[in-house]
């Protein structure tokens, strides 16, 4: 009997503690939940993909600002890249007198534009960029020149490369004319876009004459006309409006399957901007 009474008292005490604890715990949980709920929105947690294994943590890249100076420095870098390509082309000794004169003149024009872009960069408080574009040089120019020099028809590939290079330069300036907030800089880049469009159109006119004036597919229907080797022809006028999309260039000798390399060249973007924080590479 005594034992039963003691056991019952102990159970009551244990029950009281449990209730008290439950109340404490419940109260704290509710108050903490209410507090966290009041802390605002966006509590969905990290929605990045999960990390598995021992891979080192992803290093966040610096979020460098892209301002007018960056755009103009990039414009300078592309002009100087074009000059580097043309100088390499002249070194091949494959061009005749007229083409040599043309390339030398285009080098002069690109240098003039590069100088103008540098002046504009400094006028907007930036530091002029006087080197080629390292991203383009490494990723595009080096492999492209290697393919051209090893080609079964280097002169054809040199001409096509020059046309594509001018098209990309023109497209870049066309884009910058829209993106630059400084009106005078925008006007200067539009003038550069016109000049480089003229380069491109004239190269084709010299190389192909009237056959190369206008792409018969100007409205965008069908496939590009190909030459006897299966390489797409270039035209002075390809589109009704200035295009700024990527450009494909087929160059080099065919491989054992008869397929030539296709290079895809794009206007500058995050990888190839010459950010203000980038140290000169020359």
């Amino acid at each position: 009997m005594i034992n039963d009474s003691n056991a019952s008292a102990s159970a009551d005490i244990a029950l009281r503690y449990r209730r008290r604890d439950a109340l404490k715990l419940g109260g704290l949980t509710i108050s903490a939940t209410a507090f966290l709920a009041a802390c605002g929105s966006g509590r969905g947690g990290d929605d990045a993909p999960g990390r598995v294994g021992f891979a080192p943590p992803i290093e966040e890249l610096e979020d460098f600002p892209i301002d007018d100076a960056v755009l103009l420095r990039t414009a300078s870098s592309l002009e100087l890249t074009a000059i580097a390509v043309y100088e390499a082309v002249l070194d091949t000794g494959l061009l005749d007198g007229d083409l040599t004169d043309l390339v030398e003149r285009m080098i002069e024009n690109h240098q003039m534009v590069a100088d103008e872009m540098s002046e504009l960069t400094e006028s907007l408080g930036g530091v002029a960029w006087e080197c080629t574009n390292p991203w383009y040089m490494e990723r595009t120019v080096a492999p492209l020149l290697a393919a051209v020099l090893d080609s079964d028809d280097p002169l054809r590939d040199i001409i096509n490369t020059a046309v594509v290079l001018e098209n990309i330069a023109a497209a870049t300036h066309q884009t910058l004319a829209i993106e630059l907030t400084d009106a005078e800089a925008a006007k200067a880049t539009l003038a550069a876009a016109k000049l480089e469009s003229r380069h491109s159109a004239h190269i084709v006119a010299v190389a192909r004459g009237a056959d190369g004036y206008v792409n018969p597919l100007i409205d965008g229907d069908g496939d590009a006309p190909l030459d006897a080797d299966g390489v797409p022809y270039k035209f002075s006028i390809t589109n009704r409006f200035g295009a700024t999309g990527q450009v494909e260039l087929v160059a080099g000798k065919p491989n054992e399957n008869g397929v030539r390399q296709t290079f895809i060249i794009q206007t500058p973007s995050l990888n190839s901007w010459i950010y203000n924080e980038l140290e000169p590479t020359c």
Partner: protein, 235 residues
């Protein structure tokens, strides 16, 4: 030839069945560490309290994301000022189309005729695009400009046509370039930039067609004055 891999029976229990041994392969590539469990009610209360304190701390240091680049404050669509200038640009484009039709009507043929047809189509497309972007109808040409060029376009001679047309394209290119600095909206600039680069190409083709270039300056640096369209826009 390599020997086939055999199943390793590590030991043979009295049951006679093979046993599976969980062989450690080093540290698990999956991070299975979890937060220390609340081992007691007191621990759970402590954990909740800590969460509350952390919440207060997070609230006190939370700031809106400010690393994003500043938004482009230019208007996307043409402003009233842009519309007035674009209206004049559209009239100039319609005039160019009409002038190329004059050449075709005069009997221009062969390569020159094909170019005239394509270029007429280009210019009317530009007029339509400008009108669509700015919100008006492409139905009015610039009569003064048309009269200025009409007689030189009304020819079936390829060289004369090429000379007149190259002059027109260079003039239009210079005009659009001058207008670009006046535009406020992104759309006005975008339209202008996409038109002017093709007009430069058209000028080069026409120069080549007519054999008009005596040197590379004539091709790359043609002398052309911009039309004063702002007067029309202001009236």
């Amino acid at each position: 030839m390599t020997a086939p891999r055999t199943l390793e029976l590590l030991e043979r229990p009295s049951s006679g069945k093979a046993v599976v041994r969980m062989t450690p392969k080093g540290h698990s590539p999956v991070d299975l560490d979890s937060a220390a469990p609340a081992t007691s009610r007191r621990g759970l209360i402590g954990a909740l309290s800590a969460a509350g304190i952390a919440g207060v701390g997070a609230l006190s240091i939370a700031r809106p994301a400010s690393a994003a680049p500043p938004a482009d404050e230019r208007p996307a669509s043409p402003t009233e000022g842009d519309q007035a200038l674009l209206f004049e640009a559209m009239r100039a484009e319609l005039t160019a189309e009409a002038l190329y039709r004059e050449a075709l009507d005069a009997g221009l043929s062969d390569v020159a005729g094909e170019l005239a047809a394509v270029f007429a189509e280009n210019h009317v497309t530009y007029a339509d695009k400008i009108a669509g972007g700015a919100g008006f109808s492409a139905d009015t040409r610039n009569e003064e400009l048309f009269t200025q060029f009409q007689s030189s376009f009304a020819t079936d001679d390829a060289q004369a046509f090429a000379e007149a047309a190259a002059g027109l394209e260079n003039t239009l290119g210079a005009t659009h370039t001058a207008l670009l600095a006046e535009y406020v909206s992104v759309k006005a600039r975008k339209l202008t930039a996409s038109i002017v680069v093709v007009e430069a190409r058209m000028a080069v083709v026409l120069t080549d067609l007519g054999g008009l270039a005596s040197n590379l300056d004539d091709i790359f640096d043609p002398q052309a004055e911009a039309l004063d369209l702002t007067a029309g826009a202001e009236s």
